[in-house]
Structures are given as C-alpha cells and as structure tokens.
C-alpha cells in the first residue's frame, strides 16, 4: 500500500508541476462554464415564459440543467482523458526511469495501481472544478443533490474505464503523442459504438451498443445508479489494469 501511495503521490506531483494539469483544468472549466451558461439561460427563459403564460410547466433543475450538463461533460472527457493517461508509462520509458521502478522492490501491479490512482485523482480534480458552477444552482435554486452525486459517480466510473485503457496504451510506447493519439482513437470508437442502435434493432447492434462506455453513463446522468452499469464499469477498469500489468511484465521479456 505504501508503494502504491508513493507512486500515486509522484504522479500527482508530475501533473501539478507541469503545465498539463493547469491546461486540463482550464479547458474543462471553460467548456463546462459555457455549457452551464447555455443550459441555465435556456432554463431561465423557459421558466420566465412559463410564468408569463400563466400555465405553469413542471420545471426541474436536475432534469433540465444537470442531466444535459453531465451528458456533455462525459463527451468532453473523451478528449481530456488521453491527455491525462498518455504520459503515465510512455514518459517513464523515454526518461529511462522505468529501470528505477522495475529494479526497485515494488510489484508490477503496485506500479500500475499507483499510477492509475494518481491519474484518477487528477481526473477527480478536473471534475471538482465543475462543482463551482453547480454551487450556483444550489445558491439560487433547490436542486436535489442525490442525482448530482450519482451523475458524478458515473463520470468517475466512466473516466476510470477510459483511463484504464489509456494506461494500457501508454505501456506500449515510448512516445507520449502516440499513446495520446491511440487512446483518443479508442475513446472515440467507444463513444460512436453507442450510435449503432440507430442502425437497426438487431441483436448484434444491441450488443455493440452495450459495449460503448457512454450507453452506461445515461442512467447515471438521470440520477439512476444501476448495479449492472456499475459492474460493467468496474469490470472494464479491472480488465484494463490487468492488461496493463501483463503488458508491463512483457516489457521485461521483450526489452
């Protein structure tokens, strides 16, 4: 556990002593802020209209602002996550620090777990920025917090899946750009898989759509925590990290 924390701490330092963390925080703050502004202005206009027309529509902050906002965030994450995960192993390989890690009394899975945890914390820090906007909703409205919490849990789980893939891809190359590009391609693919239900209602397209990480996020954005989605995400993360560990082992044999 101590090794995992040591490596996790090193990763966190790595992010926050380089511009990458601040860049990611800024990108997400701007995009989320824009989405938030758009969603809340539409909501404000709609509620004004509903008040003036005399017929009161049912207005719900959770459904009308937060759900689409979280949906948008989950797509933005597809773009940010490769930037978090690409350096994890590629940089160690390029710098030659891989030799330090692999000749220290640390197990391979501890290295993987430490790095993944560091990346997750970085990701969580990015999500934290968006809570500033959400705080305004609590200041001026009264949304219920449970669906929001569920939505953020969903984002974390979905982010975890993509990070696990990115971590794996990062072990396969010395070049951060290659790792980032490949991760981005895979993330994109996992997103567009969800469109396959539009192609037809056959069993195959259903299965394909089920594999998309985004289909499993929808219930979370509506505030529903479904065990089958949680299990899907957790299985995905474990599988990704398992592959990463095996890939790390294979470095020794191939090097």
């Amino acid at each position: 556990m101590r090794n995992i924390l040591a490596i996790c701490g090193k990763e966190m330092r790595g992010y926050f002593t380089s511009p990458i963390a601040y860049l990611l925080l800024a990108i997400f703050a701007v995009l989320f802020g824009y989405f938030f502004f758009a969603a809340s202005s539409i909501f404000a206009t709609a509620s004004m209209e509903s008040a003036m027309s005399g017929r009161s529509f049912p207005m719900n902050i959770n459904q009308q602002i937060i759900a689409p906002l979280l949906g948008n965030s989950s797509v933005v994450m597809l773009f940010l996550i490769p930037m978090i995960s690409m350096r994890l192993f590629a940089e160690e390989k390029r710098q030659g620090t891989m030799e330090l890690l692999l000749t220290s009394p640390v197990r391979d899975w501890e290295i993987v777990a430490g790095k993944f945890l560091g990346a997750m914390l970085m990701f969580a820090a990015i999500l934290l920025v968006s809570l500033i906007d959400i705080a305004f909703l609590f200041a001026y409205g009264n949304p219920s917090w449970q669906p929001i919490a569920a939505g953020y849990l969903g984002l974390l789980l979905q982010g975890g899946c993509l990070l696990a893939i990115g971590t794996y891809i990062s072990t396969t190359t010395k070049n951060q750009i290659v790792a980032g590009g490949a991760t981005f391609a895979v993330c994109l693919l996992l997103w567009v898989l969800s469109w396959s239900t539009d192609l037809g209602q056959g069993a195959v397209s259903k299965v394909v759509a089920y594999c998309s990480v985004l289909t499993h996020f929808e219930p979370f954005s509506k505030g529903i925590i479904d065990t089958k989605d949680v299990i899907f995400y957790l299985t995905f993360i474990f599988f990704g990290l398992f592959l990463t560990t095996r890939s790390l082992e294979s470095l020794r044999w191939r090097a």
């Binding site: 040591a6 490596i7 790595g14 710098q95 330090l100 692999l102 000749t103 220290s104």
Partner: protein
C-alpha cells in the same frame, strides 16, 4: 555476493550474453570491462532483475534473480547508464521518493535521505530541480539513489560516462569511498578507470567472458613479469651501446629501445620471472658512467591486456584463451 553461472541472454536474432560465469566476493570492487555492445549492460540488467536470463543462474546477495526477485531488489542499488531521474522533482524530493519505493521505513526516511545526499556531496543542491543540474551532479544524484537504502550490492553501469575529467575523478573517489560497505560491480569501457578503482576485473567481448582476475594478475600474465623503463642521459650515448650494456645485466631477458635521441635513450627492460633487477640496472648504468635519469616499473596498461585478449578472440576463435586465473573469491571460468 554475486554468483553467475552460464548466464545467457538470447534475442530473436542475436546472442547478447553467451554462457558467462563469474563470482564476486563480498567487499570487492569489480570492473566489468568490454567494448560497446559487448553485453555489459545486458548482464547488469539480468543481475538487477530488469531482464530475465534466457538460461543460466544468477545469484545476487544470496537470492536467485528469477526465483526471488523481490529479495534481490531489496539488496541491490542500481545506477543505469543514464541516471533514472525525474527532471521535474527537486533532489531531496526525488531521494525521498526513491527511499519510499526502496522500502525505507518512514521514521528513518529523512535521515537516510540526508545521509545519501551527504555521501554524494549533494547537500547544497537538495532544493534544486533535477532538470537544472549539471551532468556531474545528475550522476551523483543517480549514485545517491543507488546507495540510499544501503544495499549489499551496488551495480553501476558506466558511472563516469559523459563527465568531464574533474567530475570523473570526483566520481571515482566517490565510488572508492563507497567500497567499504558495499560490493561493487561497475561496468566501463574506459580501461584507466578499472586500473584506478577496481581490485578485480572481468573482461567480456561479444557476449563471451574472456578473462577475469585481479588487475595485477591480469597485467602480470600479460608480461610474464613486470617491465621496467630506464631512461639514460649521456652526451654522445649510442642507443645500441646502451641496449647491449643493459642486456648484460643478470636477470634481464630483453631490452627494447623505446625512444632514442642524441644524448638520451629510453629503454624498456623485461626481466626473467621472479628476478628483481632494478638495483642491478641502476648500478650498471652508473658504472658505465652514464646518468640514470629515471627508472620505474612500466606496468603494462590494462589496455594492452584488453586489446590482446579481444584480438586473440577474433583471430583464433577456438583455442586462444589460456587457463583461467583464479580470484580470491571463487574459481571463475574463462569461457570460450
């Protein structure tokens, strides 16, 4: 401390290390000598559990590198060819991180970091970013990283490569100062380094072990016995006369004129085994009425040994190598 038997590393197309065997005893500083690409780094990587051997057995600090890598890793300090540093960290932070993953208990960590920094003369740069350090300082940080957990065995891959002469001599002194507590295996292709720092030598060439033994033994084996340089000054001195006179000294087997200019002759004198001819040489020169300018042992440089061994390897691949020399430690094999 280190026992290696028939260690082999094969890649798809090449054999990087071919059945080498040697042993290093506790407290020795052993130079691991070979040209670039001879298989030094591969061997060291196998000893540090970074690469698994294809065949053979390596035992480091009492544990097998394949069976028990965790135990081996706890007991070794390894400085790869380029020091494994994180440029965005400060020196102190970096050493603390390394200390943690090397398993130093939290309550000792700060003390050990200070100790390692002190030993490697890093006290004044502890707060500096590694990316701002000069090459020499980086190398020292690399060494501090290797010694921080007080390992039984230190494995240093070309610790002085890329340094300036001042830094090289500092690094050598540093390594020599670490010698007492640790068993050190250091690789190099600079021969002078081995002569300066090491007690024993292992020479490998194209994956084969060509010789091993103490530095002295190897040098003596080259010459049969030691050679002596004699410099004589005398106006009107003829080189041939000087040579003749010197060869008459009892115990001298051969004298070779190395340099000759009017009034000055430099000879290299080889003596029969076991004979100490220096006093007789001096007397002979003085009796002849010449001025004895210098007289000293012209030790064969390790360079000669090295070139001879690796060249022999090339021309007679089958039976060129003489019987092995025994080190104090064990009976290392000379493998062909």
């Amino acid at each position: 401390m280190i026992q290696v038997e028939n260690l082999t590393k094969r890649y798809a197309r090449t054999v990087a290390v071919d059945r080498i065997s040697f042993a290093v005893a506790k407290g020795e500083i052993v130079g691991f000598l070979g040209r670039n690409g001879a298989g030094k780094t591969t061997t060291m990587r196998m000893l540090t559990c970074f690469l698994p051997p294809t065949e053979g057995v390596a035992n480091v600090a009492g544990f097998d590198v394949v069976e028990n890598p965790m135990e081996v890793k706890k007991r070794i300090g390894y400085l790869p060819e380029s020091p494994p540093l994180y440029p965005e960290m400060e020196v102190g932070e970096y050493l603390t991180f390394v200390g943690k993953i090397k398993g130093i208990p939290s309550n000792e960590l700060a003390r050990r970091v200070d100790e390692a920094a002190g030993r490697c003369a890093l006290g004044d740069v502890k707060k500096k970013l590694i990316s701002k350090l000069s090459k020499g300082y980086r190398q020292r940080v690399g060494l501090a990283q290797a010694v921080i957990h007080n390992p039984d065995v230190l494995i240093l891959d070309e610790p002085t490569s890329g340094l300036d002469p001042q830094q090289i001599s500092e690094t050598r002194e540093l390594i020599a100062s670490l010698a007492g507590d640790h068993t050190i295996l250091l690789s190099t292709h600079i021969l002078a380094e081995v002569e300066h720092t090491c007690s024993n030598v292992i020479i490998i060439d194209r994956g084969h072990l060509v010789a091993s033994g103490t530095v002295r033994e190897l040098l003596q084996r080259m010459r049969g016995s030691e050679a002596i340089a004699v410099e004589i000054r005398y106006d009107g001195l003829e080189a041939a006369d000087a040579r003749q006179r010197i060869e008459q000294v009892p115990g001298v087997s051969r004298a070779v004129v190395k340099q000759s200019e009017p009034g000055r002759v430099l000879l290299e004198v080889e003596s029969l085994e076991g004979a100490n001819v220096r006093a007789d040489l001096a007397r002979a020169v003085v009796h002849a009425g010449w001025n004895l300018e210098t007289l000293h042992a012209a030790a064969a440089s390790l360079e000669d040994v090295f070139l001879e061994l690796t060249a022999a390897e090339k021309s007679h691949p089958a039976a060129s190598i003489e019987p092995p020399i025994t080190t104090a430690a064990a009976t290392p094999e000379v493998i062909q």
